[in-house]
Symmetry: C3
Subunit: 640 residues, 3 copies
């Protein structure tokens, strides 16, 4: 795993660049990301390009042997451009233009903005595409950050109507697919279709789903526009984008088709202090982040390309509701954990803390005055650790368990959660946690990915079952665990004619005949001690339930190697349930303490301790990093 850092030469006097580059190299850093917000410096006024400064910066980095990841500057169109073409601005759900003064103020559907992006990206790529330092391009920055996928602009309306026409061909088909007869919502022409906004009450979920798909497709095509230019003018460089954590507002699989590297930006403490995160979890993992948060995303994004962490929290951030300091050791732990999950690069945000503007309170590797901040000592130790592991085979290891993650399914659950406490992504992550606490590794796969070779495949949020997914499941020889709500919708957001779980009934002949959502005060227990929370389904059909709830509803159905879980479970119940399924499937398990996680990569086994106490590991192993006592924020690595 290489080490990297995000650097903004335009923020600092040119006189310090060489020294910065030297200090980076001495710290073990070999990759530097630059340029992704620099439009106002690259083109201070229309067609008045200023590329010299960036060329000099790249030369300085190159002179120290540093590789450069160069970002296209399209996340921050400058004010002169907005004043020329106000239609670039995204429009919010109240029909107001989103204002200038921060970033990401553009509409993905703006025809003019796509032309402008083409222009600036071509200019930048032609200028620097052959520079010897540049090995990788980053497209834009964090698509969708600050709720920017969606725009209600005139261009978006036109593009959405055209998208509908392409998808549905005839307005009658759209009316039928959406069930528009319901409240006289039928259209007689595609140009009647409005954007789903400002409605009196709930909008048609099919209308919302179509608008989500359209908006997601706009991201993918926006990204492809840039990727195509890069591949044309800067061949042999990789194309990368930096995704985010806990973010499902567009289908990342589609966008990543045009990427070589699926990078993401990891802020473990920032992600934890959010509304909706369980308060007990916030307390437990206050200075470490949740023990499965980083791992889940590593496993998710490595399914979309080579895995990079291009931005990693090095200390307190500025943007969370509260911004505590991480526990000493966590900067190193997070880095080695990324490696254990197949990351090729660990890169911190940012080299030196910027003393002005929005993120002045975001720590870096250096303080604003240039002295070292606390992460640096941990990175030095990390460099030593990496040397010890360099000789071993770390090729990626296929897991025994696959979790199918479905962005459309996640969105369907958000559009009609049915229960306001139903948290779509949290439910998937709870399942992930239950597998990881059982000691098993996990691959996160796309619907339709090959499943052969896994022992257990889990459907967690596959609301609509595509034909490729069904085909894979049908030929699959391992165990399949189907979670609640899977198969409950058609691709156009209606209840399937055969009733849920739709085509999965070929795997297990159950029919969901009633569902209920439960408030937090109402859990329902089974005779054998499982606790259903938030969601429960009543099953009819020929399969007998394995257990029953105290009010007579059946719980958990099994047929051949297919398992149907008809309720959401609390954490303790889910862990117990999952351990039994893993054992049935022949997956090797071992119970992990609450804060401890194990991960295998190639010849190596890694252990991480997020918990408040030291933990004793097997003393008979020979430890390459750490030892049999896994301290707080500790890492141990041994050779299988």
């Amino acid at each position: 795993m290489k080490l990297g850092v995000c650097y903004y030469p335009e923020h600092w006097p040119e006189s310090v660049w060489a020294d910065d580059a030297r200090r980076m190299r001495e710290l073990g850093i070999s990759v530097v990301r630059v340029g992704e917000f620099a439009w106002s410096r690259l083109e201070p006024a229309r067609d008045n390009f200023s590329f010299d400064w960036l060329k000099r910066a790249l030369d300085v980095l190159h002179a120290e042997g540093l590789e450069v990841v160069l970002g296209t500057p399209t996340a921050t169109p400058p004010k002169w451009l907005i004043d020329e073409h106000p239609s670039i601005l995204a429009i919010d759900e109240n029909s107001n233009p989103r204002g200038f003064g921060s970033r990401r103020h553009y509409c993905f559907s703006s025809v003019i903005y796509r032309q402008e992006c083409q222009r600036i990206v071509e200019k930048v790529v032609c200028e620097f595409g052959q520079h010897p330092a540049v090995t990788t391009w980053q497209t834009d920055n964090e698509y969708g950050c600050h709720s920017t996928i969606v725009s209600y602009s005139a261009d978006a309306l036109t593009a959405f109507q055209a998208w509908c026409e392409r998808r549905y061909k005839t307005i009658d088909k759209l009316n039928v697919d959406w069930g528009n007869v319901f409240w006289s919502m039928e259209y007689t022409d595609f140009n009647q279709i409005p954007l789903p906004m400002l409605a009196v009450t709930e909008l048609n979920p099919a209308h919302r789903l179509a608008f989500w798909r359209f908006s997601s497709d706009q991201v993918a095509s926006f990204n492809k526009l840039q990727a195509d230019i890069i591949r044309q003018h800067s061949p042999d460089r990789d194309v990368m984008h930096n995704f985010m954590g806990n973010f499902t507002e567009f289908d990342h699989y589609d966008t990543s088709k045009e990427l070589d590297i699926a990078a993401w930006d990891n802020y473990p403490l920032g992600f934890l202090d959010r509304d909706g995160i369980d308060l007990e979890d916030q307390k437990k993992w206050f200075r470490t982040g949740h023990p499965d948060s980083s791992a889940f995303h590593h496993d998710l994004y490595r399914g979309m390309g080579r895995l990079w962490i291009i931005e990693q929290q090095p200390g307190p951030v500025n943007w969370a509701p509260h911004n505590p300091a991480p526990l000493p050791g966590m900067v190193r732990l997070w880095a080695i954990e990324a490696m254990a999950h197949d990351a090729e690069l660990m890169s911190w945000f940012r080299w030196r803390q910027m003393p002005a503007a929005q993120e002045q309170m975001h720590t870096g590797l250096l303080l604003p005055d240039g002295t070292e901040d606390e992460a640096v000592a941990e990175i030095r130790q990390l460099s030593e650790d990496l040397k010890k592991l360099a000789a071993f085979d770390t090729s990626s290891t296929k897991s025994e368990v696959a979790l199918v993650f479905d962005y459309s399914g996640d969105q369907m659950l958000r559009i009609q959660p049915q229960g306001q406490n139903f948290a779509p992504l949290e439910w998937v992550q709870n399942i992930y946690t239950s597998v990881r606490r059982s000691g098993a590794d996990i691959d996160i796969v796309q619907p339709g990915d090959a499943l052969a070779g896994y022992k257990l495949v889990i459907l967690a949020n596959s609301l609509s079952i595509s034909e490729p997914l069904l085909a894979e499941l049908t030929s699959f020889e391992g165990h399949v665990l189907v979670g609640p709500r899977c198969g409950s919708k058609t691709d156009e957001y209606s209840i399937p004619p055969e009733m849920p779980p739709a085509s999965l009934q070929t795997l297990i002949p159950v029919k969901v005949s009633r569902v209920e959502s439960l408030p937090d005060f109402c859990n329902v227990a089974t005779a054998d001690g499982f606790n259903a929370i938030r969601w429960r389904e009543k099953i009819t059909g020929s399969v007998e339930p394995v257990s029953t709830f105290t009010d007579g509803w059946g719980f958990y159905y099994c047929h051949d190697r297919c398992h149907y879980l008809n309720a959401c479970l609390d954490d303790v119940s889910l862990l117990k349930f999952m351990q039994a399924r893993l054992q049935q499937s022949g997956v090797a398990t071992c119970a992990c303490k609450e804060g401890v996680r194990i991960r295998r990569r190639g010849e190596l086994i890694f252990a991480f301790n997020y918990g408040p106490n030291a933990v004793e590991l097997d003393p008979s192993k020979s430890y390459l990093v750490g030892n049999a006592t896994l301290g707080v924020a500790g890492v141990s690595v041994w050779h299988e």
Copy 2:
């Protein structure tokens, strides 16, 4: 009591209509509501009418002997009409048009929309007004649902200014009545009066009250426009509208003047899971609904016309924050309870669950695949129950207690609650509960209705005392209980010159000289154990208090047969207080267990059990339905 169902032939292939009709009849259903959202099918494009399908549907229903309630389609103007006349859309409080894509997107003041409603209603009524199946018309659907009474459109502004001119005659009178001198809010012309919106801080309460009255009048005149057409072109049919639960955004008495049948839509579990409902109540009545919620509305709406329940929850709904399944038995219980409260019709929403669009997760009597859902078995049992009761006299019984319910008073309390925890409707319902738990039946009457014959009349939210109400009270020979805040305002929302309770001082010579609102953490107790919450009044005058608060303020005043309650009480105190008043008034009482309710109709006495345990009734009675052990969700009926 007849049984009915809501049916949408336009949602289903014509091939299943006959079978649907047959199954309805076999289940004991005799009334079917159709058509209320079908504009886009009745007129797919301007003047392109399509009535054949509906005629065929009516014929099919008629062939099975089913009566039809036909709805006017004005709750869902189609998109072609909105595109033709965007001014139909209501305008929200931020001046944005409310978007197309759900329902009820029209402005009651839109001049064009009234013309369009006249046009479509005339067409539909002329077409089907003589059809033998049609016995009743429903006007529109759920006036006001989703906060749609109010619109801030240009048409609303013009109409409101004209309304003010009609009411106040001169601008000087308006200025004086509203107290506009207060912050230089005086107008010199009616055309200066703005809609009450977007103000810097609190608006003049008289301005808000006038706008509420105007908006309420717009609903009444909108309804009358349709009723007049129906009476002209479809004589001998009844006119009905379906009101809602817990909804006071317009004065239902005014609108119901043009109705024969006051129907309402009853969703007991959906109503319970709302912000603001006491969490303990939500837990207790999670799968039954509150034991007084249905009854309160039955008693309220039967005061406005013949009582129908046109939509009744048959299982989980889709639109509440959480949507649990009702306890087995509740579908039957809710039906018999409606009968006990004088309902002529119990009709469920809906026949078959719609697999698409907004309400796809709302259960019906049939599942989307046409198989029976769980309510059907209870309806079969219900049909048997009704046969057993058919022979008895069930003419309506006048109660001994009357509760005066005042829509203007409710609105006045909302405009200036004085304490943010003051919940106007909940306070009335708490009083209702305290009477019902004492075993007494209750009639809910309009201010000014005749009171002769009652033993106790309760004023709960009569903030302004009209002359007809005062006249009735003056000549009334029973006991009068006046609750806090009654008589505290003039009709134009000012403090009455004689000080509260204004003209009620002719009944009891008290003067409210100070009031205070109390946060939830501050209750004040009396020496004899009553607990005041939220609101308290200090009384001066010649009447001695019956008791005193610990800080010396007096509590409860009595003069002849008039009782003045000068504080809101917690549930326990209120029950104790009310039992004493009922006994003083000579009303027969019996303590009901928390979840048990008794109701008399004609020769029959009904008992219902909403509680978690079975309850033993008098074993000496001869039970027509059920027996002396009133089980969970149980009903027992005996003959007096």
Copy 3:
């Protein structure tokens, strides 16, 4: 101290004016404020002036020997003026005009409104400027109430761009000062600078700070416009404005430069029942107000001019979330406490409760029917008290402790609190409380005020250290306590080059190298029992910490007479910490019970009891008011 009252002759028939005036005088009132919302009566239509009624009202008051404070009517432009010039309306952050129908609906930047204010103020001042009753003018009313400092109008945009050009001279300097390079926010012309609104995510804090300074300057110039007219046409009268409590939305020091009298409006119970006030505090001080709330503001505003309380709560108010009655005695206590803090006038809002419009539920000295409300008896007792104290010297006494209060610093903390539970003003008030509970008096001073003579100076919210403040601190010979975050920003909202606490490092050589914000569930304790909450700083440098936190961070640094507190503390810890600092500084202290406060003025010492129990004072003193047993809501005064 004089007594006064707010009176609105335009609300009452002229026939009662004389009687009102007589009753005022008999109650001991000598000052009457009138006229501040009367524009619609002074000019019912353009240029149609109507001054006679006001002249007659002034004559009536003068005849009873009452002084008049006359308000300019600019807080309530009437509807005819708004209809003539809609651009007068302020524009909200969603670009909507703020509606007519309450008050303060104007934009401070409206060019037309400034002309209209000049016109009406000149008219009124010329008309009444020489009237013998008029001794004082009030400008407008409660600048900023209801979030009205800020407007996003076209006039505001133009004025803000011009303000920026005046401040920064060149656009390059502005770009550098704000760090606009950060997200390509650089401008090439001042006319590109937008108002900070509707941005996608956080705006540049320097941009927000500049807009706050601009908006604050607009208030000062608006006030100066009126003050200049008054001084020209009504010489020898005082100019006063009525500020508010807990309000920091503009820099009051700047505005008060044009005032003789800094008045404020004091509603102790209303201020307490606010979101964000600690619930335990709300419970404790429910009927008294917080024991430091009034005192803090008295001490703050007496630093800006002669101190008046022009509006004081006489009973329940109408506008708080809940509106309880004050404890008997509090009206008198609040009045004597104001005197103890140097007030020249205690004036109640209002004479007679208005029975109509927005504030009809706000109590006055009289009920709407003209009978006396409860405050009157306490005012009679107060008049007797004041007579007993009249003979003593009550010249203002300089305190031993000075607290520097910085409006810019407060705003900086609001722009980037870093922790959502960080409450800038509450933190300053907690420090104030810790001093007052230690028995010491306190002066609140402006940054740059002379500090010589104090024993202890406290910096609580001085985020940016100005040169005059540094110069004062450098020459100051007493102790200096620097609180957390002081010196952490430059004047342009960036981290200072020398790192925090910037130039304060000349007093104590510490460097803040890391900060963290803490959620409420995470406190960190020191070895010696101090509890840090919300905010903590890690210090590097040559000074050893006095103590350490359990995780090794240092706590509290001391160098010569400079003390650096590097964390926020909970109330108990802060009191203990402050008592030690006061003792080190040689300030006389005495522990006060939680609800008891002591204050010295001239020869007199005052004690006040906000607590729930009587407290015994030194029996050896000779009490002028009260005695050695300080009852609940009691006041005792003795002669030193």
